[in-house]
C-alpha cells in the first residue's frame, strides 16, 4: 500500500532532522568554544 501524504511529510521531516540536528549541535559547540577561547598570537605560531 502506498504511503499516505502525512506519512511522506513526516518521513521528510524525520530524514532532515537526522542530518540537521547533529549539524546544529556541532555548530553550537564550536561557537561556544570559540567564544570561550579566542586564540592568542602565540598559538598561531608553530
Amino acid at each position: 500500500m502506498a504511503a499516505s501524504t502525512t506519512q511522506v511529510i513526516l518521513t521528510a521531516v524525520g530524514v532532515l532532522t537526522i542530518t540537521v540536528v547533529p549539524f546544529v549541535w556541532g555548530l553550537y559547540r564550536m561557537v561556544k568554544h570559540t567564544r570561550e577561547h579566542e586564540p592568542g598570537e602565540d598559538e598561531r605560531v608553530m
Binding site: 502506498a2 504511503a3 501524504t5 506519512q7 511522506v8 518521513t11 521528510a12 530524514v15 532532515l16 537526522i18 542530518t19 540537521v20 540536528v21 547533529p22 549539524f23 549541535w25 556541532g26 555548530l27 559547540r29 564550536m30 561557537v31 568554544h33 570559540t34 570561550e36 577561547h37 586564540p39 598559538e43 598561531r44 605560531v45 608553530m46
Partner: protein, 428 residues
C-alpha cells in the same frame, strides 16, 4: 627554527572550508543519481548508517593527521614516523594535481551552464547542447576560467582567501538549494517523487545498494587522504576536531539531501525517470524537467549556480594540497607556488577538456590511486605514530572526548572499511 604556519581564524573556518571541500558535484550530481539508480529511499538507509559511523570518524582521523603532524599530506607521514614517509607523501601530496586537471573541466561545464538557459539549443536539444559544452574549445575556455577562479582564491591563503570564500559560497549554495527544494516540493504531483525519495522499498535493499552507499559516503566527504589533512594542519592543538568533524559530516549530508529534494519531486511531477547515469541527470535531464515548469529559466540558473559554487569550493581544497606540498618540498611562498601550479594544470587541462579519451584516462588513474591515498591517514596516525598518543591528542581539544573504542576503530575497522568501499568502487 620558528616556522609560522597559516591558521583558520577558528574551527568554524575549518568547517566552512571542509564543507566546501566535501560538498561538490558528488552531492549535487552523484548523490541524486545514485539514489535514482539504487531504488530511491532504500539507498538512504545504508548511506545514513555509514555517515553515522565511518564518515565523521574518518574526518576526525584526517583532520588530526594534519593537526598532529602540523603538515599537509606531503610532510605528514614523514613527521608521524612512517618508513619512507617523505616519498610516500608524494602520492597524496601531488595526486590532487591529476584530480584538478579533469575537475577543472567539470567545474567549467557548470560555469558554462549558468548562462545556458539563454541558448535555444539548451532547451530544444539538451543532449546536443551538452555535446558542444563538454568538448572542443568551449570546454577548454571554461576549464581555464574555473582554474583562474580557484587559483585566485587560493593565492590569498587560508584566512584571507579560502575561509571567507567558502563561508560565502556554502551559505549561498545552502540558500539556493533550500529555495529549489521548496519550489520542487510545492509542484502539483510532487508527492510521487517524495515517495520514491523517502519511503523505502525494502525489497530493493540489496548488497549492491549497501556497497554503493558505502562508497558514496566515503567519496562525498573528501576522505581521500589529502584535502582534509591539509585543512586539519591549519588547526592549533587546542582545536575541537570532533565537533568540527560532526558539523562537516552532517552539513555535507544535509546539502546532499536538499539536492534530492530539489530533483526528485520535480522529476516525477513531469514524468522524468530519475535514474539517468553519468552526467545525464544534471546536464541533460534537468533541462527536460525544468522546461515543463513555470519559472524554468530561474530554476535552471539557480541550480547550475549552486553546482558551480559546489565545484569551485571543492576545487579550492584540491589545489591547496599541491600548493602546500610545493611549499613543503621547496620552501617557496604560496604567492609564487599558486600561479605556477595553475599554469601547469591549465596546460594539461586544455587538451584534457577537449578530448574525452584523455579525460577518461585521468579519471581512471584517480580512481585506482584513491584507496592508497585514503588508507595512509589511519596507517600514519594509528600504526606509524602511536595510536594511543594520537587519541590523547585528539581529546586535548575542548570537544567531546572519544573513548578507547576509537583506538580500535581507527587502527582496524576504519582502514578495513576504506578497503571494502574502494574495492567495491574499483571492481564494481
Amino acid at each position: 627554527m620558528s616556522n609560522v604556519r597559516e591558521r583558520w581564524s577558528s574551527e568554524l573556518g575549518l568547517v566552512a572550508g571542509a564543507i566546501g571541500s566535501a560538498v561538490g558535484l558528488g552531492n549535487i550530481w552523484l548523490f541524486p543519481m545514485l539514489v535514482g539508480q539504487n531504488g530511491g529511499a532504500a539507498f538512504l538507509i545504508p548511506y545514513f548508517i555509514f555517515t553515522f559511523s565511518f564518515v565523521w570518524t574518518g574526518l576526525v582521523i584526517e583532520f588530526n593527521t594534519g593537526r598532529i603532524a602540523q603538515q599537509g599530506p606531503a610532510g605528514a607521514y614523514e613527521e608521524l614516523g612512517m618508513p619512507f614517509g617523505k616519498y610516500i607523501g608524494l602520492i597524496p601530496g601531488f595526486r590532487p594535481l591529476v584530480v584538478l586537471i579533469f575537475y577543472a573541466s567539470i567545474a567549467g561545464w557548470t560555469l558554462r551552464y549558468i548562462g545556458a538557459p539563454a541558448n535555444e539549443q539548451f532547451w530544444a536539444e539538451p543532449g546536443a547542447f551538452f555535446g558542444t559544452v563538454n568538448s572542443g574549445l568551449q570546454s577548454a575556455v571554461f576549464a581555464v576560467l574555473a582554474l583562474a577562479i580557484i587559483g585566485s582564491i587560493v593565492y590569498f591563503g587560508i584566512e584571507k582567501g579560502i575561509e571567507p570564500a567558502t563561508k560565502l559560497m556554502i551559505g549561498l549554495l545552502f540558500i539556493l538549494l533550500v529555495l529549489l527544494g521548496i519550489r520542487s516540493v510545492l509542484l502539483p504531483g510532487s508527492l510521487e517523487g517524495l515517495r520514491f525519495y523517502l519511503v523505502p522499498d525494502f525489497s530493493k535493499l540489496t548488497t549492491r545498494v549497501v556497497l554503493n552507499a558505502m562508497a558514496q559516503a566515503f567519496f562525498t566527504a573528501s576522505l581521500a587522504g589529502a584535502p582534509m589533512i591539509v585543512y586539519g594542519s591549519y588547526l592549533s592543538e587546542k582545536a575541537d576536531t570532533v565537533s568540527a568533524a560532526i558539523t562537516t559530516t552532517f552539513g555535507n549530508a544535509t546539502i546532499a539531501l536538499l539536492s534530492g529534494f530539489a530533483i526528485f519531486p520535480a522529476a516525477l511531477a513531469v514524468g522524468v525517470e530519475p535514474n539517468a547515469s553519468g552526467p545525464g541527470l544534471l546536464f541533460i535531464s534537468l533541462p527536460a524537467i525544468a522546461q515543463q515548469l513555470p519559472g524554468s529559466t530561474l530554476i535552471v540558473t539557480g541550480f547550475f549556480l549552486a553546482a558551480a559554487l559546489a565545484a569551485i569550493s571543492t576545487g579550492l581544497s584540491i589545489l591547496e594540497v599541491p600548493v602546500d606540498s610545493l611549499k613543503y618540498h621547496f620552501g617557496l611562498p604560496r604567492k609564487v607556488v599558486t600561479p605556477i601550479l595553475v599554469l601547469i594544470v591549465a596546460v594539461v587541462a586544455i587538451p584534457t577538456a577537449m578530448s574525452s579519451e584523455l579525460f577518461d584516462t585521468l579519471t581512471t588513474i584517480v580512481l585506482y590511486t584513491g584507496p592508497l591515498a585514503a588508507l595512509l591517514a589511519p596507517l600514519g596516525l594509528f600504526w606509524a605514530y602511536d595510536g594511543r598518543q594520537a587519541l590523547e591528542q585528539i581529546n586535548e581539544g575542548p570537544g567531546t572526548e572519544l573513548g578507547d573504542w576509537f583506538f580500535y576503530w581507527g587502527k582496524y575497522i576504519y582502514p578495513a572499511g576504506i578497503l571494502a568501499a574502494y574495492a567495491w568502487d574499483v571492481l564494481g
